[in-house]
Amino acid sequence: MKNIYDWPYENEFGLRETVESDLLVLGGGLAGCFAAIAAARRGQRVVLVEKGATERSGSAGSGFDHWESACTNPCSGVTPKEIAEAYVEEQDGYSNGIAHYIECREGYDRLLDLEDFGGKIRDTEGEFKGAEFRDDKTGLMFAYDYKNRFTLRVWGSTFKPALYRELRRLGVKVCDRVEATALLTRETDGKKRGVGAVGMNVRTGKLMIFKAKATVLAMSRPARVWLFNPDLVGLCEFRPMQSVGSGHAMGWRAGIEFTMMEKSVRGEFSASGRSFPPYGTGNNHNTWYAATMVDARGVEIPYVDRDGRELKTVSERYYPAPGQKFFLKGGVIDEAKYEYRGPETLPFDELIRRGYKLPFYADLSRMPDAERRVIWGVMVGEEGKTKIPILQNYTERGFDPTKHMLQSYGTGWQSAAFLGQERQLFGAPGGIMNDWNLKTNIDGIYAAGDQLYASDCCGYACATGYYAGRKAAEWAGTVELTEPNPSDIDAEEKRLYAPMAAEDGMDWRELNMAISKCMQNYCGEVKCEELLREGLDLLESYEREAVPKLSCRNPHELMRTHEVLDILEVSKLILNACLLRQSSSKPLCFERSDYPEMDPEQDRKFITIRQEHGAVVRGEIPQGYFGDLETEYLKRNGDYVAARNEKYGDR
């Protein structure tokens, strides 16, 4: 096989292009697309920057199967206030109450938008007519809690192409294959303001300069910080390979305030080649809830409710316990508190004690026909990364859910067993601190989706994206375009292109591998001051000694190199955030050997972190700073509420 080709795209190194807009959106996933749509609907000039191709980019690019917290759908038995407050309470106050309330309140409206754009959100063909999880009047289909009906099963593989069409219809300028690399800010009267961003075309190398009145950060959460495999880079993490947290790195460099960055969890699934394809093993979680599980002998594993009562039928797995109003399940909910705990199989240790034999399997053949077809065919099929690699490929390999059972790995539903130092930012991790406008601490810069702290699912991304776009557009209507500092652009250009000048130097993989090893060694499961400082010292030595040696041969390799520089930046942010919390915390999965006390009263707060003139600045914000969620939301969104009923009626 031939190994060297001519570079197939134009060589535009040395060229610059400037693009002006009212609103600049960085990141073309669900949050970014909805931010752009909100501003375009107000008649603003909108530019959206996406490193991949917007038609399928982002964590939900290839699909997603269930939409959480759709509390305003016509079949819902819960209110936005109930569910948003439950999320805050469930996470011991370390939750983004503002963003969750927006999700609960406006999420279903975004789903109706998606339907208007051509996405499929209900069983229009009547494939599941009469099923217990289907409302036969609306065709809406529900997951998890069939009594309260606030999680919807959706055909998410239709969503990104529909959003992309709508962006084009609205005249949004979509800049695909452009990586955003730096935020541009100006200081006036001692106050910092966002005025745009810098980026690079990842096929041609052209420098892109974006001038804008307002900016929405809608990129990914960090990844590949602890977990890296240079051979199978694309299998290192659950989220897409190119989603590494560059938005966090840009924000950190620009002085944006973060919180909860000390939180990380032991790897759960889909990482470093240790595990199996997401949703491609037997399990009873999330997409596969509530699959019938059996042990090696074919003995069924019992489901129990929160009181340990053994459930006799499949149907009972989808209802709250006697005396319980509703239960929570999904993305961030791992082992819910008693109040919100739903039906689950017996704990792993208890199963082993009772003599159940490994391996375990999911056996859909024992489920009612509609439940089997909705798990294998809709959920597996519409969830991201399942239509081809799972549904199609397993079927080609001969898998038939009426005849076969699919094996589980690791303990219970997990698809592998990880070590304590193999960590990820998962389960509502840290991110950008926001106010009720989803604005950051810098005027003119807003954040949405996975860049916000304590983010979770697709409904969260869509709802916060639209909301941030709306608020950013309001601001953009009140200010003039401001020229960025030319010296800021020159400095970024120099930083970006340096690896092209070095010949025969270090490959980006070598640096990523070293960072991950450093983070496993110095920022593992149990932390202490000395270890964390050693970690910072090592990363700083990489900056001095390894970064100048990085070299690459084309814009693609240069993009990958920029990503690793961002991973290095984010790793420093995480180490510094860990140093700032001088106690341990259960909800933050944070353990310090030098401060073993768990969640002391004085530390039950958001500790914030930002950078100013190269120094780390610590801040504190009380839990519940967002006030009563419903009252505060209504104070600021009366116009939306009024227009909402007119636009969507009681659909």
């Binding site: 060297i4 080709y5 199978l232 069924e300 081809i388 094996q407």
Partner: protein
Amino acid sequence: METRFELSAVRIPSSARPITFDASRCVGCNRCMNICQVDIFIPNPEKGKPPIVLYPGECYYCGSCVMVCPKPGAIHLDHPLMNQAKFVPVKRPESDETCGDMVSGVPASD
């Protein structure tokens, strides 16, 4: 900036082979290449031929390339061998006391 760099496309091998093409079905439309989020492909220098997989190790197995392909069977995506999860024919326990009716195929728990 003054510098104009010489560019080359060097294939980076991987232990995995995520993408295979059926050259008899592929028309070389490059749609897979243009939908790929991680840009693992480059166009084939020979027009009408399947794209070149330049960065196989970067594939994250989302399947968008297969979903967008207008010629069924022209492109195939496969997880590496170690990721082929195991499945076996359904098994019923020897004693039916824990599991109810196992013989008729009626779901035991419903």
